[in-house]
């Protein structure tokens, strides 16, 4: 055991760790002097004591802690005999530590004020507030304005800048300067009313947090974010996602009546149909097995749309169209077209009808097509300028000849073979005299005009006339006897569409309806046999009653049953499961609704950008 007796009370003094200066000899590994540094931080002296003159002698005054009175005594001149080199007093360890801290702080301030780029001309160096790089897109757009592009407070003077700390500075407000949304910006899913949103409004930056590097994925959102609100929270598509609906996604009837089952199983494969004249047997053989015969996979997106009519329908159906004539007028019978022009109910008094028809025949014989045009122009629902479309191509001679023949009660002399797109007076299909029009084919303008004429007529304020128009429209859309057999394919669409909508009613609209889901066929096509692989998801359903909707006099969307069975979730899960393909919410669902929203730059922003 050590016994530090040498450090007795007379030989050692208190150690004083609070002192800020220590004798410099210590740092040079010499014995520190007992006085320590002086009052002003200078060396405490080079002598070990200051001798005192007592009488005629000098006496040593070295204290006991420093060894007591020395044996030699002071020099004759009164100087101490024990001298040592002066020192430069050193800071104590703690003081040096404090200075380190201070130096580090100063260095920090210098670094933040000067920054790595001292040429920057702002009071606060950008480096001092640099939170990290923007994504490359945003970086490009904000290059000119800098921080101010998103952070309003950046532009304030020093006081305003500090005061901004106590205000709301959510940069989301600036997002909408460029980004447009169809609904309220910060409401959930941009829908005005969404129940149970905990935060009420959701700031853009909650999900799209910037300053995480040029290539940061600021658009992707983890599934947990969705689960915040969606009560049936799940984190696993395979096990937790609810099964798709039974008819999903063919919920809404399409515009075109195309019975896949009948075509594939009968029209394309049954020789009774394929061997018929006017049937394209070659196409049928192809289409029997291959969806791609009709569907243009090359341009597949969310939907694989069918190819145009001319390529895939015309082969069989064009002759049916050109064969089905539009009968404008007969001398003994009120045709739907004539009922529209004359405003006569076909079920009305036969005598009146016959009398009017006679008069019309006489007018025709006298003034030709003009009399018909005059009738059409007088109708409330039709403007004069549209009337010519109804009678386009009807020559005066043909009309006069027909009128003369009808008045005379004889069969008009028509050409033996009527070319498509022309009017003729002659023997109708039933063998009666008639003034009729032979359609040119698909999308014939005259036939379309008469269909639209009838549909619009249903809007007539005169109830009697509206009823007449309704009856006529029904007759026009008859899938077997209607002119151009338009109703065969477009029937349901035209019957259900509002009469005011013209283009929409005739156009193709797919049967698929999934507003909250996004899907693209393109990446999936490579995974399956391009000719036969479609059935992996799209299976024909044997029980489906497709005609229940499309064949109905009054088609109700609720009655629609697709030819196809609903797509099963299993089909997706086959690939989209843990360990295989991503199955995060965002793969199929998007936050911002509806999908068709205009997510892009506002024109204004672009213009402003261009101006600059």
């Amino acid at each position: 055991m050590s016994t530090p007796r040498r450090f007795g009370h007379e030989t050692s003094a208190y150690e004083r760790p609070v002192q800020i200066l220590v004798c410099g000899h210590g740092s040079m590994w010499r014995k520190p002097c007992w006085q320590g540094p002086g009052a002003q931080g200078q060396c405490g002296g080079t002598a070990e004591c200051i001798p005192v003159r007592v009488g005629d002698r000098w006496e040593c005054r070295r204290p006991k802690q420093a060894g007591g009175r020395c044996t030699e005594g002071p020099l004759p001149d009164g100087a101490c005999a024990h001298r040592h080199l002066p020192c430069v007093p050193q800071s104590s360890l703690r003081r040096r530590r404090g200075r380190w801290s201070l130096a580090a702080l100063v260095a920090l301030f210098v670094l933040l004020i000067l920054g790595p780029d001292p040429t920057a001309k702002s009071v606060i160096n950008p480096a001092a507030i640099d939170p990290g790089a923007l994504t490359s897109v945003h970086a490009g757009f904000t290059r000119d304005q800098g921080c101010l592009a998103c952070h309003e407070s950046h532009g304030r003077d020093a006081l305003g800048w500090l005061a901004a700390a106590f205000r709301n500075n959510d940069p989301s407000a600036k997002c909408t300067e460029c980004h447009d949304f169809s609904g309220p910006v910060m409401r959930a899913h941009n829908l005005a009313a969404v129940a149970k949103v905990p935060a009420g409004e959701v700031s853009c930056v909650r999900c799209h947090s910037e300053h995480r590097g040029a290539s940061a994925a600021i658009k992707s959102v983890p599934d947990t974010t969705c689960a915040n609100c969606h009560a049936k929270a799940f984190d696993n598509f395979e096990r937790k996602h609810p099964a798709f609906g039974a008819r999903y996604p063919y919920v809404r009837p399409g515009a075109i009546n195309f019975d896949h089952a009948k075509h594939l199983r009968e029209y394309f494969s049954d020789p009774r149909h394929t061997k018929k004249p006017n049937r394209d047997a070659k196409f049928a053989a192809l289409a029997k097995d291959k969806c791609t015969a009709c569907h243009a996979v090359e341009s597949a997106t969310r939907e694989v749309r069918p190819k145009p009519y001319a390529e895939i329908c015309a082969g069989c159906h064009e002759s049916q169209i050109t064969k089905s004539e539009l009968v404008l007028m007969q001398p003994e019978r009120l045709t739907p077209a004539a009922s529209m022009l004359l405003g006569l109910d076909p079920e009305g008094d036969d005598a009146v009808i016959l009398q009017r028809l006679k008069k019309l025949s006489a007018d025709l014989a006298r003034s030709g097509a003009d009399s018909l045009a005059a009738l059409a122009s007088g109708l409330e629902v039709e403007r004069k300028k549209r009337a010519p479309a109804l009678l386009a191509g009807l020559g005066a001679q043909t009309a006069q000849a027909a009128g003369a023949a009808f008045s005379a009660g004889r069969m008009p002399e028509g050409p033996a073979e009527l070319p498509p797109g022309s009017w003729a007076a002659g023997e109708s299909a039933e063998g009666n005299p008639a003034l009729f029009y032979r359609p040119t084919g698909h999308a014939d303008p005259v036939v379309r005009a008469w269909n639209e004429f009838a549909r619009r007529g249903t809007l007539d304020k005169d109830e009697a006339r509206a009823g007449i128009a309704k009856t006529a429209s029904g007759a026009f859309l008859d899938p077997e006897t209607g002119p151009g057999v338009c109703g065969k394919c477009h029937g349901a669409a035209l019957r259900t569409a509002a009469p005011s909508k013209v283009e929409a009613a005739w156009q193709y609209v797919g049967a698929v309806h999934a507003p909250y889901t996004r899907y693209s066929h393109a990446p999936h096509l490579g995974l399956v046999d391009p000719d036969a692989g479609c059935t992996v998801c799209h299976e024909l359903s044997a029980q489906s009653r497709y005609a229940k909707y499309h064949g109905a006099e009054k088609p109700l969307p609720a009655n629609y049953e697709s030819n196809f069975a609903g797509i099963r979730k299993d089909a997706c899960v086959e690939c989209h499961q843990e360990g295989r393909v991503r199955s995060a919410c965002q793969v199929c669902h998007a936050y911002h609704l509806p999908h068709q929203f205009n997510l892009g730059f506002r024109q204004k922003a672009l213009k402003e950008g261009n101006k600059k």
Binding site: F7, R16, P17, G38, A39
Partner: protein, 578 residues
């Protein structure tokens, strides 16, 4: 054998008399007084005759009016007899602390401490020297060894309004009515209980007019008491009346006995003192040479001897040891409240035959014991108390290694401490936070040194242990070092300290340090005559002014530093060492 050895006469008791000016004439004058004339000088041995005792262990001092003879609360080894003149004793409640040179305990609160931190001087040991000017403790005062009531700062407080004590009046004006005093007429013996019992003085005595007082060292008192029946009765009667009953009542061994039984025991109890009150002097010399064992330990009871009574320890320390191999093994140590010999006496009482001591008892320094004779025990005590569970000698069965810490603590006399600073060196990160905390509490000056003796990984730092037997307090000429009335820690009143170094030299542990003081601007304060620096004694005061206790302990972030009574650690550390 060794020709280079220096020859020197063996030191004897009276080589250095108490006061060299004690002449034979003065001794003759004393012997003529009735107190001493009644003593039969022939009963004294030739080695220590009565004449020699008076000449060498006594002195006559003359006190001027107002001089303080003994101070309430002091420790001292002397008793006094008034020879002529009038001395007065102050009756309770006594004089205010500052009159006696004590510092009034000023409890410092939070804001005081914060203020101290802000006002911390730039230099070590800065003092407001202006405070010393009006005080008895100023440098140069009390050089004659006793201070005077006339030196008080505010005489009106002491003597009442209107009383103007002259610079050196013939007779001290009467004290204010608030202070009750009684006259000590010539011939009165006082201070003998504090001297013999090593207890604090219980009252202040001052000279009213000029008086001559005989000061007797405790050795003188002891010798005369042992040889003269009159003195013995006089002293013991006083002792029995004042002290003995208290000791007996408080002694755990006798707890639960009723008053009449205790009185009977007290009547027949003897009291004895072994060893030397000045043990610290021998101890320091002994330590310088050899280590603890070099110091003589007077035997009280020896293993193998037959006990005649139970020893109750009421002061000092005793080592209980038993023979082991060629040495003696310390089994435990005894202090106030402990007893010795009970096991053997009980066995003798039960078995009806004498039993020798199984262990030895030696005095470590001094040992103050009460001896209750065996027949008293047999009659009054043993039938009434439950026998103890174990025997002291059972400790001898412990592994030897386990006692190393005990032996060390006893040899180093750390048993004396009550708040010893013990540092666990395995936990201490040497951050000096304890020293800094101490320094912050004491105006920028540490009051201990973080080094000291080590035992294994334990270090007893050089910080005041606040001893049971505060030998530092003996001989302080101004009463600057004293026990704090609140808490009992030993503290120094800086205002009255004269830097004589008596306390620092007495402390066997080197825990008091003298520091040269400075002015606030850093200049050293020198004595104008000698150009010696003015010194002040400093030591740990246990932060007695703070409500939070010692700062060092509070500051230790690693639980390494503790202020402990070392006895509470002996079992713990012993088990670790083993």
């Amino acid at each position: 054998m060794n020709s280079a050895a220096q020859l020197m006469q063996r030191p004897r008791r009276w080589d250095a008399p108490f006061d060299a000016s004690m002449s034979d004439a003065l001794v003759a004058e004393l012997l003529a007084r009735p107190e001493f004339a009644s003593i039969d000088a022939s009963r004294f041995p030739s080695a220590a005759p009565l004449h020699g005792i008076l000449k060498n262990d006594c002195r006559i001092r003359t006190y001027r009016p107002g001089d303080i003879v003994v101070r309430d609360g002091d420790y001292g080894n002397s008793a006094y007899i008034v020879l002529s003149g009038v001395a007065r004793v102050v009756l309770p409640p006594g004089l205010p602390d500052h009159v006696l040179g004590r510092s009034a305990v000023r409890k410092r609160g939070l804001f005081d401490a914060l203020g101290d931190l802000l006002r911390r001087p730039a230099f070590p040991e800065v003092r407001e020297t202006a405070h010393y000017e009006t005080n008895a403790g100023r440098p140069g005062a009390a050089v004659e060894g006793h201070s005077s009531l006339l030196d008080v700062r505010d005489p009106e407080e002491l003597f009442g309004k209107g009383v103007k004590p002259g610079a050196r009046p013939e007779r001290l004006p009467p004290l204010a009515a608030a202070f009750k005093t009684a006259v000590l007429s010539p011939g009165t013996l006082f201070g003998e209980i504090a001297a013999l019992g090593r207890v604090q003085r219980t009252a202040t005595v001052f000279a009213e007019g000029e008086c001559r007082i005989l000061e007797m060292r405790w050795q003188a008192l002891r010798d005369i008491k042992n040889r003269d029946e009159g003195w013995r009765q006089r002293i013991e009667q006083g002792y029995r009346e004042n002290q003995l009953r208290i000791h007996l009542v408080e002694h755990p061994m006798l707890a639960g006995l009723d008053a009449t039984v205790l009185q009977k025991i007290a009547d027949r109890t003897l009291f004895e003192t072994y060893g030397s009150y000045e043990w610290y002097v021998e101890y320091k010399i002994g330590r310088a040479d050899e280590g603890g064992r070099a110091v003589m330990e007077p035997p009280v009871a020896m293993q193998g001897d037959y006990p005649d009574g139970l020893l109750l320890v009421i002061g000092g320390f005793g080592r209980v040891s038993s023979g082991l191999g060629h040495g003696a093994r310390t089994l435990t140590y005894l202090r106030n409240g402990d007893h010795f010999g009970l096991d053997e006496l009980l066995e003798a009482w039960k078995g009806g035959h004498d039993c020798p001591y199984e262990t030895s008892l030696t005095a470590l320094g001094y040992l103050h014991v009460l001896r209750i004779p065996f027949d008293v025990l047999a009659e009054l005590v043993f039938p009434r108390v439950a026998p103890p569970a174990g025997r002291i000698v059972d400790a001898a069965a412990r592994p030897i290694a386990q006692d190393a810490f005990l032996e060390w603590a006893v040899d180093e006399r750390y048993i004396n401490g009550t708040r010893t600073m013990l540092i666990d060196l395995e936990k201490c990160v040497r951050c000096d936070d304890c020293v800094r905390a101490c320094s912050d509490t004491h105006g920028g000056n540490p009051r201990f040194v973080r080094h000291g003796n080590t035992f294994g990984s334990w270090m007893v730092a050089n910080a005041c242990m606040h001893c049971v037997d505060p030998v530092c307090m003996i001989g302080c000429p101004t009463g600057a070092i004293h026990r704090s009335t609140a808490g009992g820690s030993v503290v120094i009143n800086d205002l009255t300290c004269i830097g004589c170094g008596t306390c620092a030299n007495s402390c066997p542990y080197d825990n008091i340090r003298l520091v040269p003081i400075r002015e606030r601007d850093g200049r050293a304060v020198l004595d104008p005559a000698s150009h010696e620096p003015i010194l002040k004694a400093t030591k740990c005061d246990l932060c007695h002014e703070l409500p939070s206790g010692p700062s060092c302990e509070r500051a230790c972030a690693h639980g390494a530093l503790r202020r402990v009574d070392i006895q509470s650690l002996i079992a713990h550390v012993g088990a670790l060492s083993h």
